[in-house]
C-alpha cells in the first residue's frame, strides 16, 4: 500500500492581464509563492510538472527553472486543454504516490488574449464558422445548456443565477480578476453572446499562474509540515467515452460522471461529505450541468438547486466560492491548480471572508473540451 500524498505548499497570483510579462515569469512567481508557503526551496524539489497550453511546444517548465533555479531535475510539460493544470498536478501526485520522488513541484500558467475561444474550424476551402453552425466555446456550452433545458425545463434565468452567485463570491476573493456584484437583471440584459449565455455568463480570459508542492507522508512528517498539509484523497482523470452525438456535440457530462464516481470511490466519501466544490464554470450553463454530474443534487434538480441558493456560500454545498472561472478568471493551464489552491485554503481555515465554515473535505473539477475531466478530492489534515 503506497503512502498518502499531501499538498504542503500552494498559492496563486492574483489573476489579471499582464501583457508585458512572459509566461515563464508568471509561472516562476507562483512557483516561488508555493515554495515559500511550504517553507522549502527549489533545491528541495525532485521534479517539476508544468501545465501550459498555448506554449505547449516551448518548454515552459524548463524556462521557469531558468528563472528560479536550474537544479537539473526532471521536467514534464503537460497540455490537456482546460484540464492542463489538473493534469500537471496529477502527474506530480502520481510520481509521489508511486514513491519515485518525495517532494515535487506542480505549476500551471497561462497568458491569454481577449475574445472568443474555439470555432473557426481548420482545413482547406472556406471558413466554416457560422456556415455549419457555431463552434465557439460560448456556443458549444450554450448547446449543452439547452440540452439540459430540453430535458428538464431549465430556464435562462436559472442559468443566469449562477453568474450572480459566482460574481458575488468573487467580491470576497482579493485574488479574483473582478470583485463586482452583478444583479440578475444585469446578467440577463448583458450583451448576448450565444443564447442562453450572455457576456456575464462567460468566463473571463485572464493571465494567471498557480503552483503546489506535493510531498509523501514520510517526508511531510520528517519536515514537520503536517499541521497545514492537505491530503489528496483522490486524483482522477478521464476522457470522454463514446456517446451518440459526441463528435458533433462535445460531451462534458459523461466524463465528469465517470470521474466523480471513481473519485468518490477512491476517497471513500460521497457527495454529502463534500464541504465545498470548485467546479468548471467556464460558462454559467456548464455549472448547472455539473451540479448533477457531480451528484451535488439529483437528476433534473439543478435548476431548483440554484433557485434555493444551495450552491451559494452558506448553502448546502458551496460551489465556486472563489468566484469561479466566471469572475476569478480562467487562465487555462493555471485553472486546475488555482482550484486546488482555493479548496486547500478553506481546508486550512485561511480563506478569510469567504471561508466555508468547518470545511474538512473539498472537491475540484475541471473539463478540457475534447474532452478531459480531472477531479481531485482533498482533505484537511492535522
Amino acid at each position: 500500500m503506497s503512502s498518502d500524498v499531501y499538498v504542503v505548499g500552494v498559492d496563486m497570483i492574483k489573476f489579471g492581464r499582464f501583457p508585458e510579462r512572459s509566461v515563464p515569469d508568471l509561472g516562476a512567481e507562483a512557483a516561488l509563492m508555493a515554495l515559500d508557503d511550504a517553507g522549502l526551496t527549489i533545491k528541495d524539489m525532485q521534479a517539476l510538472y508544468c501545465g501550459n497550453l498555448y506554449q505547449a511546444n516551448a518548454m515552459v517548465g524548463q524556462r521557469i527553472l531558468q528563472q528560479i533555479g536550474q537544479t537539473g531535475i526532471p521536467v514534464v510539460n503537460c497540455a490537456n486543454a482546460c484540464a492542463t493544470g489538473a493534469t500537471a498536478f496529477r502527474e506530480a501526485w502520481m510520481a509521489v504516490k508511486a514513491e519515485v520522488y518525495d517532494v515535487v513541484l506542480a505549476v500551471g500558467v497561462e497568458q491569454m488574449g481577449k475574445g472568443l475561444l474555439g470555432g473557426g474550424g481548420g482545413g482547406s476551402g472556406i471558413p466554416k464558422e457560422g456556415l455549419l453552425g457555431g463552434g465557439t466555446m460560448p456556443t458549444v456550452f450554450a448547446e449543452a445548456g439547452m440540452e439540459h433545458a430540453r430535458k428538464y425545463g431549465t430556464t435562462f434565468e436559472q442559468f443566469a443565477k449562477v453568474s450572480v452567485k459566482n460574481h458575488h463570491h468573487s467580491t470576497l476573493n482579493p485574488k479574483a480578476m473582478y470583485q463586482i456584484e452583478t444583479p440578475l437583471p444585469e446578467v440577463m440584459n448583458a450583451e448576448m453572446i450565444s443564447y442562453p449565455n450572455t457576456k456575464l455568463m462567460c468566463s473571463v480570459n485572464v493571465d494567471g499562474s498557480a503552483a503546489a508542492v506535493l510531498c509523501s507522508e514520510r517526508k511531510v512528517r520528517e519536515l514537520g509540515l503536517m499541521k497545514r498539509a492537505v491530503k489528496v484523497r483522490a486524483s482522477v482523470l478521464t476522457s470522454d467515452p463514446w456517446q451518440e452525438r459526441d463528435l458533433v456535440m462535445p460531451d462534458v457530462n459523461t466524463c465528469t460522471r465517470m470521474a466523480a464516481q471513481e473519485a468518490y470511490e477512491r476517497a471513500g466519501v460521497g457527495p454529502e461529505d463534500i464541504d465545498l466544490v470548485e467546479l468548471h464554470d467556464c460558462f454559467a450553463t456548464a455549472e448547472i450541468l455539473h451540479y448533477e454530474n457531480l451528484r451535488l443534487c439529483g437528476e433534473g434538480e439543478a435548476g431548483r438547486f440554484i433557485d434555493e441558493g444551495q450552491p451559494a456560500l452558506g448553502g448546502k454545498t458551496p460551489v465556486n466560492v472563489s468566484g469561479g472561472l466566471l469572475s476569478k478568471g480562467h487562465p487555462l493551464g493555471a485553472t486546475g491548480i488555482a482550484n486546488i489552491y482555493e479548496v486547500a485554503t478553506h481546508l486550512r481555515g485561511e480563506a478569510g471572508k469567504r471561508q466555508v465554515k468547518d470545511a474538512r473535505i473539498g472537491l475540484t473539477h475541471v473539463i478540457g473540451l475534447g474532452s478531459a475531466c480531472g477531479i481531485h478530492i482533498l482533505e484537511k489534515s492535522g
Partner: protein, 141 residues
C-alpha cells in the same frame, strides 16, 4: 477554376455532389454495433471494430436536438444565426445553421422536424474564387 459555370465544390468532405442526382450527406455505419458517423472512417470508436465500416447515405430529414442562438462570432460572420444540432432520421447527428426561422427561443422548439437543404455556402469563396455548396436545416411541415 474560377470559371463562373464551374460546379460548386462541397463545403465539407461528407457532403457528396453526384454527377447526376441530388446532393446528400454521407455517413458510415458500423457493421458490428450499428453506430452511425458522419463521413468515412476506418474504425468504430464505439466498439473499436476494424474494417466493419460501411458507407451510407444519411437521411435529409431529422429533428432538432439542441441549439444555440449565436449573437457574437468572429469578424465577418453574419449574426445572429441559429447553431443547431440535428438527429437525422435513421441515424447520425449533424450540426449546422437552422435557417428560415426567427432567431428567437420562443420560435424554436426542441424536437421540431427539419429538412436538410443544400444551398450556396453564404457566398463564401476560397482563394481561387471557387463557389461552395453547403447544407442547412429548415423547418419542415
Amino acid at each position: 477554376m474560377s470559371d463562373g459555370n464551374a460546379r460548386p465544390l462541397p463545403a465539407v468532405d461528407y457532403l457528396k455532389i453526384p454527377e447526376d442526382g441530388e446532393p446528400y450527406l454521407e455517413g458510415s455505419k458500423c457493421g458490428a454495433c450499428g453506430a452511425v458517423y458522419l463521413g468515412s472512417r476506418q474504425v468504430c470508436s464505439r466498439c473499436a471494430a476494424r474494417d466493419q465500416m460501411e458507407s451510407i447515405r444519411l437521411a435529409d430529414t431529422g429533428t432538432l436536438y439542441t441549439y444555440a442562438i449565436v449573437h457574437r462570432s468572429f469578424p465577418g460572420v453574419d449574426v445572429p444565426f441559429v447553431s443547431a444540432v440535428v438527429d437525422l432520421d435513421g441515424g447520425g447527428t449533424v450540426k449546422g445553421n437552422l435557417m428560415d426561422i426567427e432567431p428567437d427561443p420562443d420560435k424554436i422548439q426542441f424536437g421540431m422536424p427539419v429538412q436538410v437543404v443544400f444551398r450556396d455556402a453564404l457566398g463564401r469563396k476560397d482563394k481561387e474564387g471557387n463557389s461552395y455548396l453547403s447544407y442547412f436545416f429548415v423547418p419542415r411541415g
